[in-house]
């Protein structure tokens, strides 16, 4: 546990200030850096993500299992991002309605994580409860284009499973979300 008695430490991690967060997040390298912005390099994230994928690859035998594990990892990230953002942006009030939370994800969450709002939020035509958040250039798949190449036997593999997990946040609704990821 965190030691007490040091001036900088807090007795409980929950008491620590969480920082103002990002106001103007950008992944365009030529823009001005906001002084409150806390960032790491894209390649650091790319390396970390590749290790995540590699580690899981060893553990599983097939693609579906790998995607599920990535999604689980993304889910953990998403749950925390949701708490963090709700606290920061909306003064601890969480959206509980379907459309509310989808638009929250579409704008705020996407902006904080990836630097821009998602390209669009549409209602699917096939099912009553289907919605689509589309994104032309997913960060993870940008890594995809630059740093990751898929060996032939894993043709269907999709690193977007990680992002799908982020979206699969828990809400107060009873309906479970089913996230299907499609590359545009």
């Amino acid at each position: 546990m965190i030691g007490v008695g040091k001036a900088k430490q807090y007795a409980n991690v929950l008491d620590r200030p969480i920082g103002k967060g990002k106001q103007e997040v950008t992944i365009d390298s030529t823009s001005e850096l906001n002084k409150d912005l806390v960032q790491v390099s894209l390649s650091a994230f790319a390396f970390l993500f590749s290790e995540l994928v590699q580690y899981n690859q060893i553990q599983v035998d097939n693609i579906a299992e790998l995607e599920r594990r990535l999604e689980d990892a993304g889910y953990a990230v998403g749950a925390r991002v949701l708490e963090l953002l709700c606290h920061r942006e909306k003064g601890s009030r969480r959206e509980t309605r379907l459309l509310g939370i989808l638009s929250f994800i579409h704008s705020t969450v996407w902006k904080v994580l990836f630097g821009k709002v998602a390209d669009s939020l549409e209602k699917g035509t096939e099912h009553e409860d289907e919605y689509m958040i589309s994104e032309k250039e997913l960060l993870v798949n940008r890594l995809y284009a630059r740093f990751i190449s898929i060996p032939k036997d894993m043709g269907a593999f999709n690193c977007g499973a990680f992002v799908a997990g982020i979206v699969r946040v828990r809400t107060a609704l009873d309906k479970a979300f089913q996230i299907i990821f499609n590359l545009c």
């Binding site: 965190i2 040091k6 900088k8 620590r16 390099s41 650091a44 970390l48 290790e51 580690y55």
Partner: protein
């Protein structure tokens, strides 16, 4: 003591593409969580993190040398300075400081006050032996091995265990001269 690099760490960090540090932190947390769930033994997790860091380090050093165009370091002191000022800044956005040189100049400590990996993290009682940031020690070890220095990297102080900074001790074991994979007389 500024390193003799043509580009400083800040300039480099501004020139690479960046992502939100919180995404990075949370992703790392997810990795550690997965490892703990799969392996369950804290020592195993430490070793696995170190290995992952090593894999990252061997590739990271290529990118580092390509982007930063630092000149060849004369001795280990300069190497440590470059890692702390330029390397850490370029990838993590934080600078480390170098202290505690021993008499021969082969061991030093890198002090990190600010570590993006550990935002929002608290170690539970069941994981007290865990070196949460062990991936960093692997990265440094891997990177240095690719430039022909065999090192041993250990954590001396860990903020998650109650210390006030992160202190990483880097000990140079030996310098391996470069070997060519082909015969010269061909």
């Amino acid at each position: 003591m500024a390193p003799a690099a043509p580009k400083s760490g800040d300039v480099l960090f501004a020139s690479v593409d960046r992502v939100n540090a919180e995404l990075f932190t949370l992703t790392y947390g997810a990795i550690v969580r997965q490892l703990i769930t799969d392996l369950e033994d804290v020592e195993e997790v430490n070793k696995q993190l170190d290995q992952m860091g090593y894999n990252i380090g061997v590739r990271l050093v290529d990118e580092f040398l390509a982007k930063s165009s630092v000149s060849r370091c004369v001795d280990f002191r300069e190497t440590a300075d470059v890692i702390a000022k330029v390397g850490f800044k370029m990838f993590l956005g934080v600078t480390a400081s170098v202290t505690n040189w021993d008499a021969e100049g082969t061991t030093c400590s890198l002090i990190l006050e600010d570590n993006p990996l550990v935002d929002f993290v608290e170690l539970p009682d069941t994981c007290q032996g865990l070196h949460y940031c062990n991936i960093l020690s692997g990265v440094v070890r891997g990177a240095l091995e690719m430039v022909s220095m065999k090192t041993e990297v250990t954590w001396l102080r860990d903020m998650l265990r109650g210390d006030d900074v992160f202190e990483l001790q880097v000990k140079l074991l030996k310098q391996v001269p470069e070997e060519y994979p082909y015969k010269d007389d061909e």
